[in-house]
Protein backbone atom coordinates (compact mmCIF):
# COMPACT_ATOMS: atom_id res chain seq x y z
CA UNK A 1 0.00 0.00 0.00
CA UNK A 2 1.32 3.44 -0.95
CA UNK A 3 1.53 6.46 1.38
CA UNK A 4 2.18 4.30 4.41
CA UNK A 5 2.78 7.17 6.83
CA UNK A 6 -0.41 8.84 5.72
CA UNK A 7 -2.42 5.67 6.23
CA UNK A 8 -0.84 5.27 9.65
CA UNK A 9 -1.83 8.84 10.54
CA UNK A 10 -5.43 8.14 9.55
CA UNK A 11 -5.48 5.01 11.72
CA UNK A 12 -4.02 6.95 14.63
CA UNK A 13 -6.64 9.66 14.25
CA UNK A 14 -9.40 7.06 14.37
CA UNK A 15 -7.86 5.49 17.47
CA UNK A 16 -7.42 8.84 19.19
CA UNK A 17 -11.00 9.91 18.51
CA UNK A 18 -12.25 6.61 19.94
CA UNK A 19 -10.03 7.06 22.99
CA UNK A 20 -11.40 10.57 23.49
CA UNK A 21 -14.93 9.17 23.32
CA UNK A 22 -14.08 6.62 26.01
CA UNK A 23 -12.77 9.36 28.30
CA UNK A 24 -15.85 11.51 27.65
CA UNK A 25 -18.21 8.59 28.27
CA UNK A 26 -16.40 7.84 31.51
CA UNK A 27 -16.76 11.47 32.62
CA UNK A 28 -20.44 11.41 31.79
CA UNK A 29 -20.82 8.22 33.83
CA UNK A 30 -18.99 9.89 36.69
CA UNK A 31 -21.20 12.98 36.38
CA UNK A 32 -24.29 10.79 36.70
CA UNK A 33 -22.76 9.01 39.69
CA UNK A 34 -22.11 12.31 41.42
CA UNK A 35 -25.79 13.15 41.12
CA UNK A 36 -26.80 9.72 42.34
CA UNK A 37 -24.54 9.70 45.37
CA UNK A 38 -24.18 13.45 46.00
CA UNK A 39 -20.46 12.73 45.83
CA UNK A 40 -18.73 16.13 45.95
CA UNK A 41 -15.22 14.73 45.58
CA UNK A 42 -16.17 12.87 42.42
CA UNK A 43 -17.93 16.00 41.16
CA UNK A 44 -14.74 18.02 41.58
CA UNK A 45 -12.82 15.31 39.73
CA UNK A 46 -15.20 15.59 36.78
CA UNK A 47 -14.94 19.39 36.74
CA UNK A 48 -11.16 19.44 36.96
CA UNK A 49 -10.88 16.72 34.31
CA UNK A 50 -12.45 18.93 31.68
CA UNK A 51 -9.08 20.51 30.90
CA UNK A 52 -7.82 17.10 29.81
CA UNK A 53 -10.74 16.71 27.40
CA UNK A 54 -10.24 20.22 26.05
CA UNK A 55 -6.57 19.51 25.42
CA UNK A 56 -7.46 16.26 23.66
CA UNK A 57 -9.91 18.18 21.51
CA UNK A 58 -7.34 20.81 20.54
CA UNK A 59 -4.71 18.16 19.77
CA UNK A 60 -7.08 16.20 17.56
CA UNK A 61 -8.29 19.37 15.85
CA UNK A 62 -4.67 20.15 15.01
CA UNK A 63 -4.15 16.59 13.76
CA UNK A 64 -7.10 17.02 11.39
CA UNK A 65 -5.82 20.37 10.17
CA UNK A 66 -2.35 18.92 9.63
CA UNK A 67 -3.73 16.01 7.63
CA UNK A 68 -5.79 18.32 5.44
CA UNK A 69 -2.94 20.77 4.90
CA UNK A 70 -0.13 18.30 4.43
CA UNK A 71 -1.75 15.26 2.88
CA UNK A 72 -4.56 16.80 0.81
CA UNK A 73 -7.00 13.98 1.53
CA UNK A 74 -9.79 13.23 -0.92
CA UNK A 75 -12.83 10.97 -1.20
CA UNK A 76 -13.39 8.61 1.76
CA UNK A 77 -10.25 9.85 3.51
CA UNK A 78 -11.50 13.43 3.30
CA UNK A 79 -14.93 12.45 4.58
CA UNK A 80 -13.35 10.52 7.43
CA UNK A 81 -11.25 13.50 8.50
CA UNK A 82 -14.13 15.95 8.09
CA UNK A 83 -16.41 13.67 10.14
CA UNK A 84 -13.77 13.21 12.82
CA UNK A 85 -13.25 16.97 12.96
CA UNK A 86 -16.96 17.45 13.71
CA UNK A 87 -17.26 14.46 16.04
CA UNK A 88 -14.54 15.67 18.38
CA UNK A 89 -16.51 18.91 18.75
CA UNK A 90 -19.55 16.90 19.85
CA UNK A 91 -17.41 14.91 22.26
CA UNK A 92 -15.94 18.06 23.75
CA UNK A 93 -19.45 19.45 24.29
CA UNK A 94 -20.54 16.24 25.98
CA UNK A 95 -17.54 16.68 28.26
CA UNK A 96 -18.84 20.17 29.13
CA UNK A 97 -22.26 18.74 29.90
CA UNK A 98 -20.66 16.17 32.23
CA UNK A 99 -19.01 19.09 34.01
CA UNK A 100 -22.44 20.68 34.36
CA UNK A 101 -23.65 17.55 36.15
CA UNK A 102 -20.74 17.83 38.58
CA UNK A 103 -21.51 21.49 39.25
CA UNK A 104 -25.20 20.74 39.84
CA UNK A 105 -24.14 18.14 42.39
CA UNK A 106 -21.97 20.60 44.30
CA UNK A 107 -24.77 23.17 44.34
CA UNK A 108 -27.65 20.83 45.08
CA UNK A 109 -29.08 20.89 48.57
CA UNK A 110 -31.94 18.46 48.51
CA UNK A 111 -33.45 15.74 46.40
CA UNK A 112 -36.92 17.13 45.77
CA UNK A 113 -38.19 14.86 43.04
CA UNK A 114 -37.27 11.23 43.59
CA UNK A 115 -39.83 10.23 40.95
CA UNK A 116 -37.69 11.75 38.21
CA UNK A 117 -35.33 8.97 37.17
CA UNK A 118 -32.27 10.98 36.11
CA UNK A 119 -30.14 7.84 36.13
CA UNK A 120 -32.42 6.18 33.60
CA UNK A 121 -32.15 9.22 31.31
CA UNK A 122 -28.39 9.10 31.78
CA UNK A 123 -28.20 5.42 30.93
CA UNK A 124 -30.07 6.02 27.68
CA UNK A 125 -27.74 8.85 26.68
CA UNK A 126 -24.67 6.77 27.49
CA UNK A 127 -26.00 3.89 25.40
CA UNK A 128 -26.66 6.28 22.52
CA UNK A 129 -23.14 7.70 22.81
CA UNK A 130 -21.58 4.24 22.92
CA UNK A 131 -23.60 3.07 19.94
CA UNK A 132 -22.83 6.23 17.97
CA UNK A 133 -19.12 5.75 18.52
CA UNK A 134 -19.44 2.11 17.59
CA UNK A 135 -20.91 3.11 14.23
CA UNK A 136 -17.87 5.36 13.77
CA UNK A 137 -15.41 2.64 14.81
CA UNK A 138 -17.00 0.00 12.60
CA UNK A 139 -18.09 2.31 9.77
CA UNK A 140 -21.56 0.94 10.32
CA UNK A 141 -24.03 3.10 8.39
CA UNK A 142 -27.13 1.04 9.24
CA UNK A 143 -27.00 1.61 12.98
CA UNK A 144 -26.63 5.37 12.54
CA UNK A 145 -30.36 5.52 11.89
CA UNK A 146 -31.02 3.49 15.03
CA UNK A 147 -29.20 6.07 17.14
CA UNK A 148 -31.25 8.84 15.55
CA UNK A 149 -34.50 6.96 16.17
CA UNK A 150 -33.71 6.49 19.85
CA UNK A 151 -33.25 10.23 20.25
CA UNK A 152 -36.97 10.65 19.72
CA UNK A 153 -37.58 8.31 22.63
CA UNK A 154 -35.08 10.20 24.78
CA UNK A 155 -36.71 13.52 23.92
CA UNK A 156 -40.10 12.12 24.99
CA UNK A 157 -38.63 10.83 28.24
CA UNK A 158 -37.03 14.19 28.98
CA UNK A 159 -40.21 16.06 28.18
CA UNK A 160 -42.20 13.76 30.48
CA UNK A 161 -39.62 14.24 33.26
CA UNK A 162 -39.80 18.03 32.94
CA UNK A 163 -43.60 17.94 33.07
CA UNK A 164 -43.42 15.76 36.16
CA UNK A 165 -41.23 18.31 37.91
CA UNK A 166 -43.47 21.22 37.00
CA UNK A 167 -46.70 19.41 37.90
CA UNK A 168 -45.30 18.29 41.24
CA UNK A 169 -44.05 21.79 41.96
CA UNK A 170 -47.44 23.34 41.22
CA UNK A 171 -49.39 20.76 43.15
CA UNK A 172 -47.12 20.69 46.21
CA UNK A 173 -47.01 23.26 48.97
CA UNK A 174 -43.23 23.67 48.86
CA UNK A 175 -43.39 27.23 47.60
CA UNK A 176 -45.67 28.18 50.45
CA UNK A 177 -43.09 27.31 53.07
CA UNK A 178 -41.33 30.40 54.34
CA UNK A 179 -37.60 30.49 53.57
CA UNK A 180 -37.83 27.54 51.23
CA UNK A 181 -38.80 29.39 48.09
CA UNK A 182 -35.35 30.42 46.91
CA UNK A 183 -33.60 27.12 47.57
CA UNK A 184 -36.50 25.18 46.11
CA UNK A 185 -36.46 27.24 42.94
CA UNK A 186 -32.71 26.73 42.61
CA UNK A 187 -33.03 22.98 43.00
CA UNK A 188 -35.89 22.87 40.53
CA UNK A 189 -33.86 24.86 38.05
CA UNK A 190 -30.90 22.54 38.46
CA UNK A 191 -33.04 19.47 37.92
CA UNK A 192 -34.61 20.94 34.80
CA UNK A 193 -31.15 21.88 33.54
CA UNK A 194 -29.93 18.35 34.24
CA UNK A 195 -32.78 16.93 32.17
CA UNK A 196 -32.04 19.42 29.41
CA UNK A 197 -28.32 18.62 29.44
CA UNK A 198 -28.95 14.89 29.17
CA UNK A 199 -31.30 15.55 26.27
CA UNK A 200 -28.47 17.52 24.62
CA UNK A 201 -26.07 14.63 25.11
CA UNK A 202 -28.54 12.61 23.04
CA UNK A 203 -28.46 15.30 20.36
CA UNK A 204 -24.67 15.14 20.23
CA UNK A 205 -24.83 11.35 19.91
CA UNK A 206 -27.14 11.82 16.93
CA UNK A 207 -24.70 14.34 15.46
CA UNK A 208 -21.95 11.74 15.76
CA UNK A 209 -24.11 9.13 14.03
CA UNK A 210 -25.03 11.67 11.33
CA UNK A 211 -21.38 12.50 10.66
CA UNK A 212 -20.57 8.81 10.57
CA UNK A 213 -23.30 8.20 8.02
CA UNK A 214 -21.84 10.98 5.89
CA UNK A 215 -18.38 9.54 6.38
CA UNK A 216 -19.36 6.04 5.32
CA UNK A 217 -22.03 6.62 2.70
CA UNK A 218 -21.61 10.26 1.70
CA UNK A 219 -25.21 10.52 2.90
CA UNK A 220 -26.29 13.74 4.63
CA UNK A 221 -29.79 12.54 5.53
CA UNK A 222 -29.24 12.78 9.29
CA UNK A 223 -27.47 16.13 9.19
CA UNK A 224 -30.20 18.40 10.56
Amino acid sequence: MARTDYQTSLSELRGDVLYMSEVVAERLRMGLDTLDRKDDDLAREVIEGDDEINEMYLDLEQDCIDLIALQQPVASDLRFIAASFKIITDLERIGDLAVNLGEYTLDAEQDLFPDVDVQRLGDVTLEMLDDAMETYANEDADNCFDVADRDDELDAMCEAASELVMRDLIQSDRLDEEGEVESTMQDVSRLLLTIRDLERVGDHAVNIAARTLYMVENDDELLY
Partner: protein, 294 residues
Protein backbone atom coordinates in the same frame (compact mmCIF):
# COMPACT_ATOMS: atom_id res chain seq x y z
CA UNK B 1 -10.42 22.63 -44.92
CA UNK B 2 -11.72 25.70 -43.17
CA UNK B 3 -13.58 25.86 -39.92
CA UNK B 4 -16.75 26.67 -41.80
CA UNK B 5 -16.78 23.70 -44.12
CA UNK B 6 -15.69 21.34 -41.33
CA UNK B 7 -18.59 22.46 -39.23
CA UNK B 8 -21.01 22.19 -42.11
CA UNK B 9 -20.01 18.70 -43.13
CA UNK B 10 -22.93 16.29 -43.11
CA UNK B 11 -21.11 13.09 -42.24
CA UNK B 12 -21.84 13.21 -38.53
CA UNK B 13 -24.72 11.15 -37.16
CA UNK B 14 -25.99 14.42 -35.77
CA UNK B 15 -25.56 17.05 -38.38
CA UNK B 16 -23.80 20.11 -37.10
CA UNK B 17 -25.47 23.28 -36.10
CA UNK B 18 -28.91 22.09 -35.12
CA UNK B 19 -29.18 22.45 -31.36
CA UNK B 20 -32.12 20.09 -31.15
CA UNK B 21 -30.28 17.41 -33.04
CA UNK B 22 -27.15 18.00 -30.99
CA UNK B 23 -29.04 17.46 -27.79
CA UNK B 24 -30.61 14.29 -29.13
CA UNK B 25 -27.16 13.05 -29.99
CA UNK B 26 -25.95 13.81 -26.51
CA UNK B 27 -28.86 12.07 -24.85
CA UNK B 28 -28.58 8.91 -26.88
CA UNK B 29 -24.82 8.60 -27.09
CA UNK B 30 -23.02 5.70 -25.40
CA UNK B 31 -21.37 6.59 -22.12
CA UNK B 32 -19.19 3.65 -21.20
CA UNK B 33 -17.17 4.50 -18.12
CA UNK B 34 -19.26 7.55 -17.48
CA UNK B 35 -21.45 8.13 -14.47
CA UNK B 36 -25.11 8.11 -15.43
CA UNK B 37 -25.68 11.48 -13.85
CA UNK B 38 -22.86 12.93 -15.89
CA UNK B 39 -23.91 11.88 -19.33
CA UNK B 40 -25.38 14.43 -21.64
CA UNK B 41 -24.97 18.10 -21.05
CA UNK B 42 -22.78 19.09 -18.17
CA UNK B 43 -24.04 21.82 -15.89
CA UNK B 44 -26.03 23.29 -18.75
CA UNK B 45 -23.05 23.21 -21.10
CA UNK B 46 -23.29 21.42 -24.43
CA UNK B 47 -20.98 18.66 -25.47
CA UNK B 48 -18.22 19.97 -27.74
CA UNK B 49 -15.96 16.93 -28.03
CA UNK B 50 -17.31 13.42 -27.96
CA UNK B 51 -15.30 10.21 -28.07
CA UNK B 52 -17.08 7.00 -28.98
CA UNK B 53 -15.32 3.71 -28.52
CA UNK B 54 -11.91 5.16 -29.23
CA UNK B 55 -9.07 2.64 -29.26
CA UNK B 56 -5.44 3.45 -29.89
CA UNK B 57 -2.55 1.12 -30.47
CA UNK B 58 1.15 1.83 -30.71
CA UNK B 59 2.18 -1.14 -32.85
CA UNK B 60 0.77 -4.07 -30.84
CA UNK B 61 0.44 -2.21 -27.54
CA UNK B 62 -3.03 -0.90 -26.81
CA UNK B 63 -2.78 2.58 -25.28
CA UNK B 64 -6.50 3.40 -25.14
CA UNK B 65 -9.22 0.85 -24.57
CA UNK B 66 -12.68 1.68 -25.85
CA UNK B 67 -12.92 5.24 -24.56
CA UNK B 68 -16.29 6.98 -24.68
CA UNK B 69 -16.84 10.33 -23.07
CA UNK B 70 -18.29 13.76 -23.71
CA UNK B 71 -16.35 16.94 -23.05
CA UNK B 72 -18.55 19.94 -22.31
CA UNK B 73 -18.11 23.28 -24.01
CA UNK B 74 -16.55 26.17 -22.09
CA UNK B 75 -15.57 23.98 -19.18
CA UNK B 76 -12.26 22.67 -17.89
CA UNK B 77 -12.01 18.91 -18.19
CA UNK B 78 -9.08 17.22 -16.47
CA UNK B 79 -7.52 13.88 -17.38
CA UNK B 80 -5.74 12.17 -14.53
CA UNK B 81 -4.18 8.79 -14.01
CA UNK B 82 -0.85 7.06 -13.49
CA UNK B 83 1.96 7.25 -16.02
CA UNK B 84 1.26 5.23 -19.12
CA UNK B 85 -2.50 5.13 -18.60
CA UNK B 86 -3.22 6.80 -21.92
CA UNK B 87 -4.42 10.23 -20.81
CA UNK B 88 -1.96 12.12 -23.02
CA UNK B 89 -2.68 9.74 -25.86
CA UNK B 90 -6.35 10.62 -25.58
CA UNK B 91 -5.51 14.32 -25.56
CA UNK B 92 -3.51 13.88 -28.77
CA UNK B 93 -6.42 12.09 -30.39
CA UNK B 94 -8.51 15.23 -30.18
CA UNK B 95 -6.28 17.19 -32.56
CA UNK B 96 -4.93 14.13 -34.35
CA UNK B 97 -1.41 14.63 -33.10
CA UNK B 98 -1.17 10.84 -33.06
CA UNK B 99 -1.19 11.00 -36.86
CA UNK B 100 2.41 12.17 -36.55
CA UNK B 101 3.42 8.89 -34.91
CA UNK B 102 3.91 6.16 -37.50
CA UNK B 103 3.24 3.33 -35.06
CA UNK B 104 -0.02 4.82 -33.83
CA UNK B 105 -3.34 3.41 -35.00
CA UNK B 106 -6.65 4.98 -33.97
CA UNK B 107 -10.06 3.31 -34.18
CA UNK B 108 -13.43 4.64 -33.15
CA UNK B 109 -15.07 7.99 -33.55
CA UNK B 110 -14.09 11.34 -32.16
CA UNK B 111 -16.44 14.19 -32.81
CA UNK B 112 -15.70 17.89 -32.58
CA UNK B 113 -18.96 19.76 -32.69
CA UNK B 114 -20.57 16.68 -34.18
CA UNK B 115 -18.02 16.28 -36.99
CA UNK B 116 -15.86 13.18 -36.84
CA UNK B 117 -12.30 14.50 -36.89
CA UNK B 118 -11.10 11.17 -38.29
CA UNK B 119 -13.26 11.41 -41.39
CA UNK B 120 -11.25 11.28 -44.58
CA UNK B 121 -12.22 14.78 -45.56
CA UNK B 122 -10.85 16.40 -42.42
CA UNK B 123 -7.56 18.25 -42.83
CA UNK B 124 -5.51 17.68 -39.64
CA UNK B 125 -3.77 21.02 -40.05
CA UNK B 126 -7.09 22.83 -40.21
CA UNK B 127 -8.27 20.79 -37.27
CA UNK B 128 -5.32 21.96 -35.19
CA UNK B 129 -6.31 25.57 -35.82
CA UNK B 130 -9.52 24.79 -34.02
CA UNK B 131 -7.78 22.74 -31.34
CA UNK B 132 -4.77 24.53 -29.89
CA UNK B 133 -2.23 22.80 -27.72
CA UNK B 134 0.11 23.76 -24.89
CA UNK B 135 2.83 21.36 -23.84
CA UNK B 136 4.52 20.46 -20.58
CA UNK B 137 7.71 22.35 -21.31
CA UNK B 138 7.37 25.93 -22.52
CA UNK B 139 8.55 25.97 -26.12
CA UNK B 140 8.61 29.55 -27.40
CA UNK B 141 10.24 30.10 -30.75
CA UNK B 142 13.55 31.97 -30.86
CA UNK B 143 11.66 35.01 -32.01
CA UNK B 144 10.34 38.17 -30.43
CA UNK B 145 7.44 38.01 -28.03
CA UNK B 146 5.28 39.67 -30.66
CA UNK B 147 6.29 37.23 -33.39
CA UNK B 148 5.74 34.25 -31.15
CA UNK B 149 2.11 35.20 -30.80
CA UNK B 150 1.68 36.33 -34.38
CA UNK B 151 3.34 33.22 -35.80
CA UNK B 152 0.20 31.11 -35.85
CA UNK B 153 -1.70 33.90 -37.55
CA UNK B 154 0.95 34.33 -40.21
CA UNK B 155 1.19 30.70 -41.23
CA UNK B 156 -2.57 30.62 -41.55
CA UNK B 157 -2.57 33.80 -43.61
CA UNK B 158 -5.15 34.96 -41.16
CA UNK B 159 -6.42 38.42 -41.85
CA UNK B 160 -6.99 41.06 -39.24
CA UNK B 161 -5.21 43.59 -37.12
CA UNK B 162 -2.25 41.59 -35.84
CA UNK B 163 -1.35 44.23 -33.27
CA UNK B 164 -4.80 43.98 -31.82
CA UNK B 165 -4.85 40.18 -31.87
CA UNK B 166 -1.40 39.94 -30.27
CA UNK B 167 -2.41 42.36 -27.52
CA UNK B 168 -5.71 40.57 -26.93
CA UNK B 169 -4.02 37.17 -26.83
CA UNK B 170 -1.35 38.35 -24.41
CA UNK B 171 -4.03 39.89 -22.23
CA UNK B 172 -6.07 36.69 -22.25
CA UNK B 173 -2.90 34.84 -21.30
CA UNK B 174 -2.40 37.27 -18.40
CA UNK B 175 1.00 38.29 -19.76
CA UNK B 176 0.36 41.67 -21.38
CA UNK B 177 1.03 43.78 -18.32
CA UNK B 178 4.44 42.16 -17.89
CA UNK B 179 5.62 42.38 -21.51
CA UNK B 180 3.82 45.26 -23.20
CA UNK B 181 7.02 47.33 -23.21
CA UNK B 182 9.25 44.55 -24.50
CA UNK B 183 7.30 42.99 -27.35
CA UNK B 184 10.37 43.10 -29.59
CA UNK B 185 12.51 41.18 -27.15
CA UNK B 186 13.09 37.47 -27.48
CA UNK B 187 10.51 35.16 -25.98
CA UNK B 188 13.39 33.09 -24.68
CA UNK B 189 14.33 35.94 -22.32
CA UNK B 190 11.19 35.42 -20.27
CA UNK B 191 10.95 33.32 -17.11
CA UNK B 192 9.61 29.78 -17.32
CA UNK B 193 6.15 30.80 -16.16
CA UNK B 194 6.07 33.74 -18.56
CA UNK B 195 7.24 31.53 -21.41
CA UNK B 196 4.39 29.12 -20.71
CA UNK B 197 1.88 31.97 -20.73
CA UNK B 198 3.47 33.16 -23.99
CA UNK B 199 2.85 29.69 -25.42
CA UNK B 200 -0.74 29.91 -24.24
CA UNK B 201 -1.06 33.31 -25.93
CA UNK B 202 0.35 31.77 -29.11
CA UNK B 203 -2.11 28.88 -28.88
CA UNK B 204 -5.14 31.11 -28.43
CA UNK B 205 -4.18 33.76 -30.98
CA UNK B 206 -5.91 31.88 -33.85
CA UNK B 207 -8.99 31.78 -31.60
CA UNK B 208 -9.38 28.00 -31.32
CA UNK B 209 -12.45 26.30 -29.91
CA UNK B 210 -10.53 23.82 -27.79
CA UNK B 211 -7.32 24.28 -25.85
CA UNK B 212 -5.45 21.10 -25.01
CA UNK B 213 -2.93 21.36 -22.19
CA UNK B 214 -0.53 18.53 -21.46
CA UNK B 215 0.80 19.07 -17.93
CA UNK B 216 1.20 22.80 -18.56
CA UNK B 217 2.42 23.65 -15.07
CA UNK B 218 4.51 20.64 -14.15
CA UNK B 219 7.76 22.41 -15.00
CA UNK B 220 6.86 25.59 -13.12
CA UNK B 221 7.34 26.84 -9.57
CA UNK B 222 4.30 27.26 -7.26
CA UNK B 223 3.81 30.96 -8.01
CA UNK B 224 3.96 30.45 -11.77
CA UNK B 225 1.73 27.39 -11.36
CA UNK B 226 -0.92 29.37 -9.51
CA UNK B 227 -0.90 32.00 -12.27
CA UNK B 228 -1.41 29.30 -14.89
CA UNK B 229 -4.22 27.77 -12.83
CA UNK B 230 -5.97 31.12 -12.47
CA UNK B 231 -5.51 31.64 -16.19
CA UNK B 232 -7.04 28.27 -17.06
CA UNK B 233 -10.21 29.15 -15.20
CA UNK B 234 -10.44 32.43 -17.09
CA UNK B 235 -9.70 30.78 -20.43
CA UNK B 236 -12.64 28.43 -19.94
CA UNK B 237 -14.93 31.42 -20.37
CA UNK B 238 -13.80 31.62 -23.99
CA UNK B 239 -12.51 28.16 -24.78
CA UNK B 240 -13.08 24.53 -23.94
CA UNK B 241 -10.04 23.44 -21.95
CA UNK B 242 -8.85 19.86 -21.70
CA UNK B 243 -5.90 19.39 -19.39
CA UNK B 244 -3.74 16.40 -18.59
CA UNK B 245 -2.13 16.63 -15.19
CA UNK B 246 -0.27 14.39 -12.80
CA UNK B 247 -1.17 16.76 -10.01
CA UNK B 248 -4.50 15.53 -8.67
CA UNK B 249 -4.94 18.56 -6.45
CA UNK B 250 -4.50 20.75 -9.50
CA UNK B 251 -7.23 18.79 -11.27
CA UNK B 252 -9.44 19.21 -8.21
CA UNK B 253 -8.76 22.94 -8.04
CA UNK B 254 -9.31 23.96 -11.62
CA UNK B 255 -11.51 21.46 -13.43
CA UNK B 256 -15.26 21.05 -13.75
CA UNK B 257 -15.05 17.48 -15.01
CA UNK B 258 -12.48 14.83 -14.34
CA UNK B 259 -11.71 11.68 -16.30
CA UNK B 260 -9.73 9.02 -14.46
CA UNK B 261 -7.68 6.74 -16.68
CA UNK B 262 -6.04 3.70 -15.17
CA UNK B 263 -3.56 1.17 -16.36
CA UNK B 264 -4.37 -0.42 -19.68
CA UNK B 265 -5.73 2.73 -21.23
CA UNK B 266 -9.07 2.29 -19.54
CA UNK B 267 -11.35 5.19 -18.65
CA UNK B 268 -12.58 4.03 -15.25
CA UNK B 269 -14.69 7.00 -14.25
CA UNK B 270 -15.68 10.33 -15.72
CA UNK B 271 -17.84 12.84 -13.93
CA UNK B 272 -18.10 16.07 -12.02
CA UNK B 273 -14.78 16.85 -10.37
CA UNK B 274 -16.44 17.36 -7.00
CA UNK B 275 -18.02 13.92 -7.19
CA UNK B 276 -14.79 12.24 -8.27
CA UNK B 277 -12.80 13.72 -5.41
CA UNK B 278 -15.44 13.45 -2.70
CA UNK B 279 -17.26 10.24 -3.47
CA UNK B 280 -16.15 8.36 -6.58
CA UNK B 281 -18.25 5.44 -7.73
CA UNK B 282 -15.31 3.23 -8.55
CA UNK B 283 -13.27 1.61 -5.79
CA UNK B 284 -10.29 1.61 -8.16
CA UNK B 285 -10.60 5.37 -8.54
CA UNK B 286 -10.97 5.74 -4.78
CA UNK B 287 -7.80 3.72 -4.25
CA UNK B 288 -5.93 5.71 -6.87
CA UNK B 289 -6.84 9.21 -5.73
CA UNK B 290 -6.32 8.39 -2.06
CA UNK B 291 -2.90 7.01 -2.90
CA UNK B 292 -3.60 3.44 -1.90
CA UNK B 293 -2.01 2.35 -5.14
CA UNK B 294 -0.15 3.96 -7.99
Amino acid sequence: MTRENMTDEASSPADGGDPTTDEMLVETSPTAGVSESDSGTAGGSRTLVEARNVNVWYDDDQALNDISLEIPENRVTAMIGPSGCGKSTFLRCINRMNDLIDAARVEGDLFLRNKNVYDDDVDPVALRRRVGMVFQKPNPFPKSIYDNVAYGLEIQDKEGDYDEIVERSLKRAALWDEVEDQLDESGLELSGGQQQRLCIARAIAPDPEVLLMDEPASALDPVATSKIEDLISELAEEYTVVIVTHNMQQAARISDKTAVFLTGGELVEFGDTQKIFENPDSQRVEDYITGKFG
